[in-house]
């Protein structure tokens, strides 16, 4: 198996053009920290962005940063922090869940649309991604978007690249809109709420004028152990005021409340972001479910009626991380039945290869959407050589 490490766009283009002419199937990667995600597929060679590194533009006053796709996320985060800024969407780090060690790349953040708790307020990675350069399956170098945040010129291929898992093109450079890091962060914790009450409280908080930037619920093994987390960020004066107002607003939910600040609060939000709240043994499957926030508790209730499962909620109840036993298709039929009936989608984010080959990793699409999906794939990658089958069979 040949492993390619192109150093620039031209080299990338030549490798892919050659592969498309010869029908060589390519695995696309950065540092392979998430290689065990998606559908397992058979390829003939690999191409990695690990030699395509470096920040190419950073204008703090314009709130924009561009980097080659292989640049470590940590380097981007550090550079932004140097000017008091950050990636608004709080990209999650899958390493703790997957047990991998290398440095995740900024290209993968775009390719997998990786977002964290702040997604409910600041949008997903796809909302901050304003420009891409990539090589499509023909070996053509294509750009879409640019370095300005308001841009409606032509079809928005940036959005298609975000979350396409390397099946449409090999990203060489990505440009993100960034935001100032807030002066202070605080978290209001409500203790002992049941799931349905917790989601009601989170909905109240998110429906308030206080710009909540994180809204999660971690059910306890017993009810008193449950914590409902509401995050505020901003100037200190403002955070104090809003915290007081939220406490008043949520008083009717009763129970004890705490306020978390500083390192402790950061650690809690990191465990929500990276779903380490769930790391209870590597021998279980982990699902990521997106549904309407108000449907969250009903969703988990249905799952728990059929299989043994553990879970927690982010995004005000709309993102559910669920851990299931591997046996019986990791509970896929129960989960997929629930998404069909309640709306939303479920992705199997951690399971051994044999499980991921046996069941649909991504939510199955109806025939019309599948036809469009296949058409779009062919429009970027007519010979089907880029990460074939990583998302869906035949894509």
């Amino acid at each position: 198996m040949t492993n390619h490490f192109p150093r620039d766009e031209q080299e990338t283009s030549a490798i892919i053009r050659d592969a498309s002419e010869k029908g060589i199937l390519l695995s696309l990667s950065g540092q392979s920290t998430k290689a065990e995600m998606g559908r397992p597929n058979q390829t003939d060679a690999s191409i990695s962005s690990s030699a395509l590194t470096g920040i190419t533009l950073y204008e703090p006053a314009e709130m924009v940063i561009s980097a080659h796709s292989g640049t470590p996320v940590s380097e981007v985060v550090r550079t932004l922090a140097g000017k008091g800024q950050e990636l608004p969407f709080e990209p999650m780090d899958y390493r703790p869940l997957l047990g991998t060690k290398a440095e995740p790349t900024i290209g993968a953040v775009a390719a997998m649309n990786l977002s964290g708790p702040r997604r409910i307020m600041a949008g997903a990675a796809r909302d901050s991604l304003i420009g891409v350069r990539f090589v499509n399956g023909r070996g053509d170098v294509v750009k879409s978007g640019g370095r300005v945040m308001k841009n409606v010129t032509g079809l928005d291929l940036v959005k298609l690249m975000a979350g396409s898992w390397g099946t449409l093109g090999f990203l060489t450079e990505v440009t993100f809109k960034v935001l100032p890091k807030q002066e202070r962060m605080t978290t209001l914790v409500l203790r002992g709420l049941k799931d349905a009450q917790a989601v009601e409280a989170l909905s109240q908080a998110l429906g308030s004028p206080y710009d909540v930037t994180g809204a999660a619920h971690i059910p306890g093994r017993d009810r008193p152990g449950a914590s409902t987390l509401i995050r505020l960020e901003g100037f200190s004066v403002s955070v104090d005021y809003r915290l007081g107002e939220l406490r008043r607003l949520l008083k009717r939910f009763g129970g004890s409340t705490d306020v978390l600040e500083g390192r402790g609060a950061e650690a809690v939000w990191q465990s929500v972001r990276d779903a380490t709240v769930l790391t209870n043994g590597a021998d279980r499957a982990i699902w990521r479910v997106s549904t309407a926030p108000t449907k969250g508790p009903e969703f988990t209730k249905r799952i728990a009626q059929s299989i043994e499962a553990q879970w927690f909620y982010d995004w005000g109840g709309g993102l559910i991380w669920i851990s299931t036993p591997l046996s019986g298709g990791a509970g896929s039929s129960v989960l997929r039945e629930a998404t069909q009936e309640l709306g939303g989608h479920a992705t199997l984010v951690r399971a051994p290869a044999e499980t991921r080959s046996a069941i649909d990793v991504f939510e199955p699409q109806n025939e019309t959407l599948m036809t469009l999906t296949k058409g779009i794939k062919a429009s970027f990658d007519p010979s089907g050589i880029l990460n074939p089958g990583r998302m869906y069979a035949g894509v």
């Binding site: 006053a61 294509v142 879409s144 308001k150 841009n151 032509g154 959005k159 935001l179 004028p209």
Partner: protein, 477 residues
């Protein structure tokens, strides 16, 4: 009149009677407009210098009717120009003689509001403001606010990925759209997204948003609704030098403050707007910023104090923090009437390029030189936080050749935007207006990739075909 339309398909024109006959079987008679008088209301949009009489106009009232019309057009090879309220400033809804106009304006109902989940499902012909009005009783609103929001439809907003003055904080349409029901050319009805976040597969919602009616016709939308801030108040700063205004914007953002709006006006714009709105704008300054912040009264006071302290080193000649609702309204009235007020003193074309904000002083100087070289004048209003420029190039229609000069000047300005690292259009769309400039921003390969994606949805170029892509070198799939 420099923008060309494709030659109409004679075979279609010859079959007009049959086509109308076919359509009449699909919708009620009042939903089908065929007489010349009534069709005239649809022959142009916000780009009024250009007009084309459509073959017929259909105004369906359900997704099923849209589907039947689309299937009919697909089967008979008839072109379709989708239309919302017809407020497009780039000619996105201008018809063609061999096309029918499919207008969604009759489909304007709110279908469901979920305050707890913060979403609203609407039919796509509802106006932008109509959504906010429908959820205002619980203190909620729909965030993107294009200045045509009273009239423009969410269907048009989705087609153009519309922005507005408050998108620095709230984002544009694509950041506030959760789902659509849309009809493909062959009549297939597709649902994308819903009340949940993010897409399971390819981000088709992101692709549809901003596709200018070339991929599908959207009939329903699920949008995010947000709780309104407790209050909002603007402050106004006048500067003697353009550079100082630009540096002040950079300093505000550098201090970690994202105002909900950050608007820039140059001297000619200030004078035109002041004469119209009597907003109390300083007439002697070269540049003016309107900075608006949101929150409780105390939060607003605190934030405006910070902003005033940041602005002081740039020696503003005028500094006025709004003290009342009436003052705030006056400050905004001036800015919001910029287009209308300019229309009273001259004919104008409104450009919509975006530039990296650091390039502002250079770009404004060059815009002035460009416009003067054509013997014309320009007023600039501009979303300073995100670099979206709106130069209003003024001319007199009654002077032969002046409109063509204004168009030329506009073209040069847009090329300049691309040259400095920006783009042709920040929120208005490409339409017919910027179609032939696409090759300045995109390489042949970039455009080919876009057209191949387009081809997946409409390989025969029947949906809004005269727009977005240069007429030469079109690819099917």
């Amino acid at each position: 009149m420099t923008i060309a339309f494709p030659k109409p398909d004679e075979a279609i024109l010859a079959r007009r009677k049959d086509i109308i006959e076919g359509l009449s079987r699909l919708v009620a008679s009042e939903a089908l407009i065929v007489s010349e008088d009534e069709r005239r209301a649809f022959e142009t949009d916000g780009l009024t210098a250009y007009r084309q009489m459509p073959l017929a106009v259909v105004l369906p009232s359900s997704t099923e009717e849209v589907s039947a019309i689309m299937r009919f057009c697909h089967e008979h090879g008839v072109k379709v120009v989708p239309r919302g309220a017809g407020t497009s400033l780039c000619g996105g809804a201008i018809p063609q003689e061999d096309a029918i106009v499919l207008g969604v304006a009759k489909m304007n109902r709110v279908l469901d509001v979920n305050f707890e989940g913060r979403t609203a499902r609407v039919q796509s012909g509802i106006t932008n403001l109509g959504i906010s009005q429908a959820v205002a009783y619980e203190g909620f609103f729909y965030a993107p606010d294009p200045s045509s929001q009273l009239a423009c439809t969410i269907a048009g907003n989705i087609a153009m990925n519309s922005g507005g003055a408050h998108c620095l904080k709230y984002g544009v349409t694509t950041n506030n759209l959760l789902g659509v029901t849309m009809v493909l050319l062959d009549g297939t009805v597709v649902e994308i997204g819903g009340e949940h976040l993010d897409s399971p597969g390819y981000d088709l919602l992101g692709l549809i948003c901003g596709s200018e009616g070339q991929l599908s016709v959207v009939t329903e939308a699920v949008v995010r609704i947000l709780r309104s801030a407790e209050g909002a108040r603007p402050a106004l700063f006048g500067f003697e030098k353009v550079e100082d205004a630009g540096a002040c914007v950079a300093a505000i953002i550098g201090a970690g403050i994202i105002p909900v709006a950050l608007e820039y006006m140059d001297k000619p714009a200030i004078q035109i707007c002041e004469a119209f709105a009597h907003a109390g704008y300083p007439l002697e300054v070269e540049a003016m910023l309107i900075v608006e912040v949101e929150g409780s009264d105390q939060e607003i006071d605190d934030m405006l104090r910070r902003i005033v302290a940041i602005a002081e080193p740039f020696k503003p000649k005028t500094m006025k923090v709004s003290q009342s609702e009436a003052e705030s309204a006056a400050i905004w009235k001036g800015r919001k009437s910029a287009f209308g007020a300019t229309g009273r003193v001259a004919d104008y074309i409104c450009m919509d390029g975006t530039i990296p904000t650091g390039q502002l002083p250079y770009v404004l100087k060059r815009i002035d030189e460009i416009v003067k070289s054509y013997g014309l004048a320009v007023a600039n209003v501009f979303h300073a936080g995100d670099g979206n420029l709106h130069p209003l190039v003024m001319f007199n229609t009654n002077v032969p050749g002046e409109m063509e000069k204004a168009e030329k000047a506009g073209e040069d300005i847009l090329k300049l935007c691309v040259e400095v690292g920006g783009c042709l259009t920040g929120e208005h769309g490409v339409g017919i207006e910027k179609r032939d400039l696409m090759t300045y921003q995109f390489s042949e390969t970039d455009l080919a990739q876009q057209m191949r994606v387009r081809g997946v949805f409409d390989p025969r170029w029947l949906l809004n075909p005269a727009k977005v892509f240069p007429l030469e070198g079109r690819l099917a799939a």
